[in-house]
């Protein structure tokens, strides 16, 4: 036998499926939401114009989700992408509208600025040893602050046609231009992840930083690369957003960071590092955009969006955690944990909390006075 693989080994179905779970899970969720919409609101959801809108919305997040996949795989996180997007887009808009810069120069400037901000993030994390969560959260404030200082309350509207083409243009009979850009960055990200030193070392660093260091990989340099990529992609997102809205202001892109992180995590990239799925991130972006689109077409109040996003994040991370630990500790079924002493105590605590709340509400209702204060 001249093969290093045991030909007689047949893993069970679940084990063979596991590597593909990152793609199967979001795809299944997407299929489920398509099916749900087919029942709930087929006429308004399945319009070409609506599907195009959905894709356009998803495309905006694709470059950022691609870059965030690298950052998260390296056990990092970048909470500053929304501000980086806003700041670089505002500087770009100023250059175009006040200083008469050509769009062909202003867009690369914006992306280079984003990369520079990413470099600052990376150096703060690797050189100054500020934990990534805190470092990028603080820099989020800094970049947002600069954007506010620059733009004050101004809305920089009516940008040149080339920019709106980038943001919401359409190739006749084909997909919108932003979808083309987004998909291209995703494919580039896939190649980067699987075929280059950077991608390989990204996974190695997230999987086992000590081992990576031991084999001579420059861990800090590759971490900085990931943040630079993240900054550049955030700026690209900012450019696309400006084109899409035909306007930009300092408070634009407020929840980009959570939306993008959610998309990446839903796609199966592990927050604990080492496990990356570019295809999963692509599916995750689509899923989140579908969810928001569905909420709109079902005419559910806008404010439910944040509830839905949060529930999707928690449930998908919990699902992956559950899949990871199956059979390792023989924990039994879902409710087996309730039998343990710890589970009992937890149950009692929840009961007491809910009981106190109900009692307080009852007492409040009993002694409630006139709801309209006099005077």
């Amino acid at each position: 036998m001249n093969t290093a693989v045991d030909p007689n080994y047949k893993p069970p179905l679940s084990e063979r499926l596991e590597p593909y779970m990152a793609v199967i899970a979001p795809m299944a969720m997407i299929a489920a939401s398509f099916a749900f919409m087919a029942v709930a609101s087929p006429d308004r959801f399945y319009r070409i114009s609506n599907l195009e809108l959905l894709l356009q919305d998803a495309a905006l997040y694709m470059p950022m989700a691609m870059a965030m996949t690298f950052v998260i795989t390296q056990r990092g996180i970048d909470l500053s992408i929304g501000s980086m997007a806003a700041l670089s887009a505002i500087i770009m808009a100023f250059l175009i509208k006040q200083y008469g810069f050509s769009v062909y120069i202003a867009v690369p400037i914006a992306i280079a600025l984003g990369a520079l901000m990413g470099l600052v993030n990376g150096l703060i994390i690797t050189r100054l040893k500020v934990p990534d969560l805190l470092g990028t959260l603080a820099m989020d404030l800094v970049y947002r602050g600069f954007a506010l200082v620059l733009a004050k309350g101004l809305v920089l509207a009516r940008v040149p046609g080339l920019l709106t083409e980038i943001g919401r243009g359409q190739i006749p009979g084909f997909v919108p231009i932003p979808v083309l850009i987004g998909t291209a960055t995703m494919i580039a990200g896939y190649v980067l992840l699987t075929r280059t030193y950077f991608g390989r070392y990204t996974i190695a660093i997230g999987s086992n930083p000590e081992a990576a260091e031991l084999t001579g990989i420059s861990v800090n340099r590759h971490k900085v690369y990931a943040y630079v990529l993240c900054g550049a992609c955030a700026a690209l997102g900012g450019v696309m957003l400006t084109g899409k809205l035909n306007a930009i202001q300092a408070t634009s892109a407020p929840y980009f960071n959570l939306h993008v992180i959610a998309a990446v995590v839903v796609g199966g990239t592990s927050l604990f590092g080492g496990r990356a799925s570019m295809l999963g991130s692509f599916a995750g972006v689509l899923l989140l955009s579908m969810m928001i689109n569905a909420l709109v077409t079902l005419r559910i109040e806008f404010f439910w969006q944040s509830v839905a996003s949060g529930v999707v994040i928690v449930s998908s991370v919990a699902l992956y955690a559950w899949m990871q630990k199956k059979d390792r500790d023989g924990a039994g079924g879902w409710f087996a944990a309730l039998q343990t002493p710890d589970g009992q105590k937890m149950l009692r605590l929840s009961a007491v909390l809910i009981g106190v709340l109900i009692a307080l509400l009852a007492v409040g209702a009993m002694f409630a006075g006139d709801p309209n204060p006099s005077g």
């Binding site: 045991d6 075929r195 000590e210 031991l214 990989i217 496990r275």
Partner: protein, 253 residues
């Protein structure tokens, strides 16, 4: 056995500040032999096997490779000269497949349209070849991440990384059987014997005297930073070696 040792350490002393970890230690290993280093905790075993592959630099003493004096300023130096080491904490990225791990930091590449990209196919086939031809190991899958492999196979991937370097002549192993069950241990010992048969000098630390007797040709006994003797496993019992480790013989004399 050849007359000149493949690798020789003479009068090695290593001090960390005021602590003397090694005191005037001699060690030699021949091509095609397994030398075990045994000793109690703090006897200087770990320091000794870090000096050899250039991780630590000795305070005093000389090293010879093939009779030629050598000095290593770091591990990469030693690896180039043909001395590599496999440590207790396996340097594996668990989420990557065996081929990616084997070539980690040393990837094979190809050029497509003027762009250098990783040659995953070549790395995979080379891994398959090295595992099969040099180590006689068959993994259950070359595509699964390494954390799905058994302890012995994980070790095989790390060893494959070392033996892929054609110039490898001395392999240093720190507790290769420490975290393994009986079956896995037997397989790992077989692996070590096959490396020996290929003419490598294997130097290993072990706490398990049973494993030492099974696999080693000679045993170098360390006690309190000094070498208290080298015995042939063929001519001595585990009891003798144990006596030397705890110093019973010396005290009785």
């Amino acid at each position: 056995m050849a007359d000149t040792p493949l690798v020789q350490m003479r009068g090695i002393t290593k001090r960390f500040g005021g602590v003397t970890a090694l005191q005037d230690v001699d060690l030699s290993a021949y091509a095609g032999e397994v030398l075990a280093i045994v000793g109690d905790n703090g006897a200087g075993k770990s320091t000794l096997i870090k000096v050899l592959p250039g991780v630590y630099q000795p305070t005093e003493g000389e090293m010879f490779l093939d009779g030629e004096p050598v000095t290593f300023s770091n591990h990469a130096d030693a690896a180039r000269a043909g001395i590599d080491a496999v440590y207790q904490t396996l340097a594996l990225a668990d989420h990557l497949d065996p081929a990616a791990n084997m070539f980690l930091g040393n990837e094979l590449t190809k050029t497509v349209l003027g762009i250098t990209i990783l040659d995953n196919k070549k790395m995979r086939s080379e891994t398959e070849r090295v595992l099969m031809e040099r180590l006689g190991v068959r993994l259950k899958s070359l595509d699964a991440p390494t954390d799905s492999l058994s302890g012995c196979h994980r070790q095989a991937v790390v060893i494959a990384r070392a033996v892929y370097h054609e110039g490898l002549r001395v392999l240093v192993m720190d507790e290769p059987t420490a975290a393994l069950g009986p079956q896995e241990t037997a397989r790992t010992l077989k692996l070590i014997k096959s490396l020996k048969a290929q003419g490598l000098a294997v130097i290993l630390i072990s706490h398990s005297l049973d494993d030492v007797v099974e696999v080693a040709d000679r045993v170098h006994v360390q006690r309190r930073g000094q070498c208290v003797g080298v015995v042939l496993t063929a001519e001595s019992s585990t009891q003798d070696v144990l006596g030397m480790i705890v110093g019973a013989k010396e005290d009785a004399a």
